[in-house]
């Protein structure tokens, strides 16, 4: 998941004027990027572990929380990325075929006997899971606070 945050687009004239006064926007963009990464990390942490009786493989943490970074801070935008092929598959869904063996192997939990059975299939199609990507609206309020705090501190320092 790649998130691009552009700070000067679609601003009110007043805020745009204040942004343009910043000679260097990268310190602010760095804070915004880190806050966005933290928001995504919290989003994955809040997702419940699987409850179907199969031991959890900590997917959301392993492929989500642990794979978030801020790989790039530009002059006008910052990129936050969840760098993970399994997470991309989770989000987009798709067909998985057996490639190394004749069949794929899936665990199924039997509630009656409390045992795990393995079933073998040649291929499986996964539906997209929207939980893999955080919604924009969830994040924007957190980022707004960061922007406000940044200017607040800047005024105090300048004073």
């Amino acid at each position: 998941m790649k998130i691009n945050l552009r700070v000067i687009d679609n601003m009110t004239p007043d805020l745009r004027w204040r942004m343009q006064l910043l000679q260097n926007k990268r310190p602010l963009l760095g804070r915004i990027g880190e806050e966005a990464a933290g928001a995504i990390r919290d989003h994955y942490k809040a997702l419940p572990a699987r409850s179907d009786g199969i031991p959890s493989g900590n997917f959301w943490q392993r492929e989500g929380s642990d794979k978030i970074g801020v790989p790039e801070i530009g002059q006008e935008s910052v990129t936050v990325r969840v760098s993970s092929v399994p997470m991309a598959h989770k989000y987009k869904g798709g067909r998985v075929e057996a490639k190394f063996k004749k069949a794929l192997c899936f665990p199924i939990f039997d509630n009656l006997t409390s045992t795990i059975h393995l079933i073998m299939v040649k291929a499986v199609t996964h539906k997209p899971d929207p939980r893999a990507r955080m919604e924009e609206s969830e994040m924007s309020q957190r980022l707004l606070v960061v922007i406000r705090d940044y200017f607040d501190r800047l005024f105090k320092r300048g004073k």
């Binding site: 310190p27 969840v82 991309a88 406000r148 607040d152 005024f155």
Partner: protein, 487 residues
């Protein structure tokens, strides 16, 4: 704006101007009047602007916050766009690509004794000298980090995850007869445990390097000048006491420079990070199998902990200092150890820059390829020697005519040679050119080549068949590459 504060500040000033105006108006213009006016001006009230300043600041701050809230309501912060791109991180790819595969019988402890510059720029595994395994492991890890699919023998394509890496690398180790029959232990290169450890360390190190690099961007450090060692995410983590003890040892070793004594928090340029690492690197993993990473600590938190004062500048980024340390780690080697290192590594390593820089063969070739493919003028000024003929090569060439015998000769290559290879009728991939020094060092077969004074070296390497034609330059007693066919 607070009117009372403004009036309190302005009243003495207005009173002063009224009195001054009265003197000018009511007194005859003479020296006496000027003296009175001068005396009054000397006593002119300045007023105390501080309360006014505070009020002005509050008003501006409130106005700013209101503007931000208005902006949020009006445009719903269309400053954010989330794309469905879960792609790779370029700096992690670059870091891993810069490592050259190195074959060596050295144990892990012997490797740890080598200069950091050498360890960090090479891809190695303790006591593994098998070229096919080392090259294959690097290619598989490269595919994982860059999220590229690999071609399987059944013509299907697959991404390389941890399980795929272990399965394929293990198969190569078994095929090459490298299983030590010790079972699933780290001393057995064919074991799942050892291969899993290699995967976790290499991919973790590349990803954490990428985070470390952006974390040291001066503009990023402005907001986050320190780091905290995170909680473990391992299924069976080491105890907190282990890390607390390691933190104390490392802190005392560096005199707690820029580091907090009880919390696992330190400034980014604190030497505690490299002291904490088993591998001498300032980014995680700091220990085999460790899942602890570095989390950013804000400027405010750093100040609260007393690591920085409110007026302190952000400390300089540590990456330049780290690079200097890397150079130092080679130049500190005494000449005897440097010679011993070259004897162990053969011509895989070249110590340059007056002994300050260790360069691997792969990096040297990459430099020539960059020059040849760069579009600028390509000269023969930068001739790189890839070492004398090895005993293996001399043995394989026992039957060639005497004027083509290998003892006492060496292989050289420059950017023009590389350019000719790239433009030949059998164009060679830039990655394949990196294989040529390995073909020179350990050929499977040597036969008479194409053209005068030529030898052709054949070798099977990482599942490919390489055939390289070398031509003798009798003046320099050196062999140059004149053709390569790598399939």
């Amino acid at each position: 704006m607070n009117k009372q504060l403004l009036n309190a500040w302005a009243k003495p000033i207005f009173d002063f101007y009224r009195e001054l105006a009265a003197i000018v108006k009511d007194t005859r213009f003479d020296m006496d009047m000027l003296d009175k006016a001068e005396d009054l001006v000397r006593r002119m009230p300045r007023g105390n602007p501080d309360p006014l300043d505070d009020a002005l600041y509050e008003a501006m701050s409130q106005s700013m916050q209101q503007a931000l809230l208005d902006q949020a309501r009006l445009s719903r912060v269309k400053t954010l766009s989330i794309a469905d791109d879960f792609g790779p991180v370029q700096s992690a790819i670059d870091k891993f690509d810069s490592k050259s595969p190195v074959l060596s019988a050295m144990s892990h402890a012997e490797w740890q004794a080598q200069p950091l510059a050498i360890r960090d720029r090479s891809f190695w595994s303790a006591r593994v000298e098998n070229e096919k395994l080392v090259q294959s492991m690097k290619a598989l890890l490269q595919a994982n980090i860059s999220q590229k699919r690999i071609q399987l023998s059944n013509n299907k394509e697959a991404f390389v995850d941890r399980n795929v890496f272990i399965m394929l690398a293990r198969q190569i180790a078994l095929d090459e007869g490298l299983d030590t029959k010790e079972g699933n232990v780290v001393t057995n290169i064919a074991s799942q445990r050892r291969l899993g450890l290699i995967f976790d360390f290499q991919t973790g190190s590349a990803q954490n390097y990428a985070r470390w690099k952006i974390g040291n961007d001066p503009d990023f450090m402005d907001g986050f000048p320190a780091c905290e060692l995170s909680e473990s995410r391992a299924r069976h983590p080491r105890s907190n006491a282990f890390w607390a003890s390691r933190w104390q040892e490392s802190g005392q070793a560096v005199n707690w420079e820029g580091a907090h004594q009880t919390k696992f928090i330190a400034l980014k340029n604190s030497p505690i990070w490299t002291a904490l690492s088993r591998f001498g690197l300032p980014w995680p993993p700091f220990e085999f199998g460790s899942t602890r990473v570095l989390e950013q600590v804000s400027r405010e938190e750093t100040e609260k902990l007393g690591l920085l004062g409110p007026d302190d500048d952000v400390p300089p980024a540590p990456d330049r200092q780290f690079n200097d340390d890397m150079r130092q780690s080679v130049s500190d080697l005494d000449p005897n150890r440097r010679d011993a290192l070259q004897a162990m590594m053969g011509d895989q390593v070249d110590i340059q820059g007056g002994g300050n820089d260790a360069v691997w063969v792969g990096s040297l070739v990459a430099g020539l390829v960059a020059e040849a493919a760069g579009g600028g003028p390509v000269t023969r000024s930068n001739i790189i020697s890839f070492g004398s003929a090895t005993n293996t090569a001399v043995d394989k060439a026992a039957d060639v005519p005497k004027d083509l015998s290998l003892p006492g000769t060496r292989m050289v290559m420059d950017a023009q040679d590389v350019k000719a290879l790239l433009k030949s009728d059998k164009p060679t991939d830039t990655k394949d050119i990196e294989l040529i020094p390995h073909v020179w060092r350990r050929p499977d077969r040597i036969r008479i080549g194409d053209g005068n004074r030529s030898l052709r070296f054949d070798k099977s390497i990482i599942g490919r068949r390489a055939s390289v034609n070398f031509e003798m330059d009798p003046k320099q007693r050196a062999w140059r590459v004149t053709g390569a066919d790598i399939k």
